[in-house]
């Protein structure tokens, strides 16, 4: 009852021996995620977390030995593009990149390359994906969400946690929660996720969490109007953001008067989406 990841997902962690990589591998395992391998060039043959996860020198070797089918990347920004290329060339069909701060020109090249390879990237600069009760491939705290029928897609991290938590307090659960990340150029976008939620029999309603910058929310609104039969509720952050300033996320910036919260809210409302004034209003609107 999910999209992208479930209990059968076999996860490979790139950068598993780093501080973040090790901590979150532990968290993912504790959640019940099937983490089958780690990669750290130069440490192949070792094991981490009390012998739970084998480490390999390369993605190719890890995939051959373990049958991993999803990669998650905790590699610093300078080396993350290489990690993505490596995962793509090892024919991993789904790659989640948590790393924040990858230069945008690197991401344009990565995206152009991945489009040719036909594999799916989630992120970068994202919290990953959580299918409550089945698997978490990312850093979303597992205890703030319960299984349910609401699909969630978001450009943000902690704001998503806020929404999951508000849903949980209202007794509502999530089918899958996807963080697509706050960078201007990313892999999976709103439309990809809306499309998957529309096709997922276990998702009955969808929450879309957007923010200022770019036109992805407007494109999502068009898609919703034309293709979605399931109800969508949205929230857009940054109504008070001044133009020309980057609000933390590399992609959260109003440029040349475009990308404002008001435009996005208008486009979504025109597509029949109910837009919440604040996150705690979302459960009511659902």
């Amino acid at each position: 009852m999910s999209i992208l990841v479930n209990k059968d997902t076999r996860v490979l962690v790139q950068g598993i021996t780093g501080h973040e990589g090790l901590f979150h591998t532990q968290q993912m395992l504790a959640y019940g995620t099937n983490v089958v391998a780690g990669v750290r060039p130069g440490k192949g043959g070792e094991w981490v977390l009390d012998g739970k996860v084998p480490v390999f020198d390369s993605c190719r070797a890890a995939v051959e030995a373990t049958g991993a089918n999803t990669s998650i990347i905790f590699v610093s920004a300078a080396f993350a593009p290489d990690a993505i290329y490596e995962a793509a060339d090892a024919d991993l069909p789904f790659i989640v990149c948590i790393t924040e701060g990858i230069p945008v020109q690197d991401m344009m090249r990565v995206r152009a390359y991945l489009d040719q390879k036909g594999c799916r990237l989630l992120g970068p600069n994202c919290p990953g994906v959580l299918t409550p009760g089945e698997a978490k491939v990312g850093i979303i705290p597992g205890d703030i969400a319960i299984p349910g029928n609401v699909g969630i897609v978001s450009r943000s991290g902690t704001l998503t946690y806020e929404v999951l938590y508000a849903l949980k307090l209202a007794g509502m659960g999530a089918s899958t929660c996807v963080g697509i990340g706050g960078d201007p150029i990313n892999g999976t976008d709103f439309i990809d996720c809306l499309d998957m939620f529309e096709a997922d029999p276990y998702t009955e309603k969808v929450v879309l969490i957007g923010e200022i910058g770019g036109t992805d929310e407007e494109k999502a609104a068009q898609f919703i109007a034309r293709h979605m039969t399931k109800p969508v509720v949205a929230f857009i952050a940054g109504q008070t953001a001044p133009p020309g300033k980057r609000m933390g996320h590399a992609g959260a910036i109003i440029e040349a008067g475009s990308g404002t919260a008001a435009e996005k809210i208008q486009a979504l409302e025109a597509a029949g989406v109910r837009v919440a004034r604040h996150p705690e209003e979302i459960p009511e609107l659902l």
């Binding site: 945008v104 020109q105 938590y165």
Partner: protein
């Protein structure tokens, strides 16, 4: 990060783009010397990181070194959109026959670089985009292939550039592409690129924006940052790895995560308050970072209340609480403070703050309402 005109043109020159042979100066006396060395008429241009310098009177012509000194004295005493003019660029005046707009930037929607050009150069290109978009030629560039010469020729044809200039136009486009790629620019713009009476192409003005995320591999460019041109609090925040933007309101906000930080500002406004800032302390915020953040918020004398909104994930609420206590001991704030801790180790965090005389809140709405009420008191 924005570069000044003179810095952008220095970079262009390194990539073989012809620029006027001017120099930058900080005093009127230097301007006079430069004008004497250059000989002939000069243009004196205020170097501030905002648009509309020309309209504000920050770009002026001088016929003699004496006039140059007088004009420079006036420009160096100016403020343009709130920014004092600290430097001027002194360029030899060009004899202009035609003005072209030429730029490379990131097209976020197409997910690739785009080269844009217009025969209507020398004016505000956003204005042209609004009123006469057909006058702007756009060609997308495959980031894996780079700019191809035929694409640059298509641009030259599109803007009706005389064939006499194609060769030198192609050299300029190649240089601009290399400057854009090798500096990790998000914008490399020549406006105007002029055809002179002497039948040469010349980049009269230049503007570059650089990707902050790429500065780690460009230490030389990172040093070009002009900290005089930004709010001191923003410089201080960057030192601690905090993302901070000053706003006009009176409720200071400290939040973890950019999306939640924007949402916190929005909800303060929704309940009748005005946020004083955007501040994201980031993931896994340490006590030291929290203390620095509180100092920065309170350095704004408009702040009448502070709202802490922490949703613990990787960030642990007890760690943030310790940071708040350390900061309180150091800064001794006189304004009321509202705190909301949720998520990882929230109870431990609340226990630590129990004696700190802070106003506590459970929900986001409650936190916003209490902060707005506290700021009015």
């Amino acid at each position: 990060m924005k570069l000044h005109e003179y810095q952008s043109k220095q970079i262009f020159a390194r990539y073989g783009i012809p620029i006027p042979g001017g120099r930058v100066a900080a005093t009127a006396t230097e301007v006079r010397q430069i004008a004497e060395e250059l000989g002939g008429r000069v243009v004196i241009k205020a170097q501030v990181l905002v648009g509309g310098r020309g309209k504000a009177g920050g770009v002026r012509l001088a016929k003699t070194p004496k006039e140059a000194e007088e004009v420079a004295t006036q420009i160096l005493a100016m403020e343009i959109k709130g920014l004092p003019v600290r430097k001027v660029l002194v360029d030899p005046a060009a004899h202009i026959e035609q003005e072209i707009y030429l730029a490379i930037t990131n097209d976020r929607t197409a997910r690739r670089p785009v080269m844009m050009a217009s025969a209507a150069g020398g004016v505000d290109i956003e204005e042209v985009a609004r009123t006469a978009p057909e006058k702007i030629i756009k060609i997308h560039i495959d980031p894996l292939l780079g700019l191809r010469d035929y694409q640059a020729r298509d641009i030259a044809i599109g803007i009706d550039l005389s064939r006499d200039y194609w060769k030198s136009f192609l050299e300029i486009t190649r240089g601009l592409w290399r400057a854009y790629v090798e500096c990790d620019a998000t914008l490399a713009e020549i406006n105007p690129l002029v055809v002179t009476k002497e039948k040469r192409l010349l980049a009269l003005d230049g503007k570059m924006l650089l990707d902050d995320n790429a500065l780690f591999r460009h230490p030389d460019l990172a040093e070009m940052r002009d900290v005089d041109e930004e709010a001191p609090a923003e410089t201080e925040a960057r030192k601690y790895g905090l993302s901070f933007i000053k706003l006009e309101g009176n409720i200071g906000c400290m939040v973890n995560g950019a999306g939640l930080a924007m949402t916190t500002m929005d909800i303060v406004k929704l309940f009748g308050g005005e946020p004083a800032n955007f501040l994201d302390i980031g993931g896994g915020a340490s006590a030291e970072k929290v203390a620095a953040a509180l100092r920065i918020i309170l350095s704004d004398t408009n702040v009448k209340a502070v709202l802490f909104n922490i949703f613990g994930g990787i960030t642990r609420c007890d760690e943030v609480a310790k940071g708040i206590l350390a900061a309180l001991a150091e800064v001794k704030p006189q304004v009321p403070m509202v705190v909301r801790l949720v998520g990882t180790n929230a109870e431990e965090g609340r226990r630590l703050l129990a004696d700190a005389q802070m106003i506590t809140a459970q929900t986001l709405v409650e936190a916003a309402q209490k902060a707005v009420a506290a700021a009015r008191r």
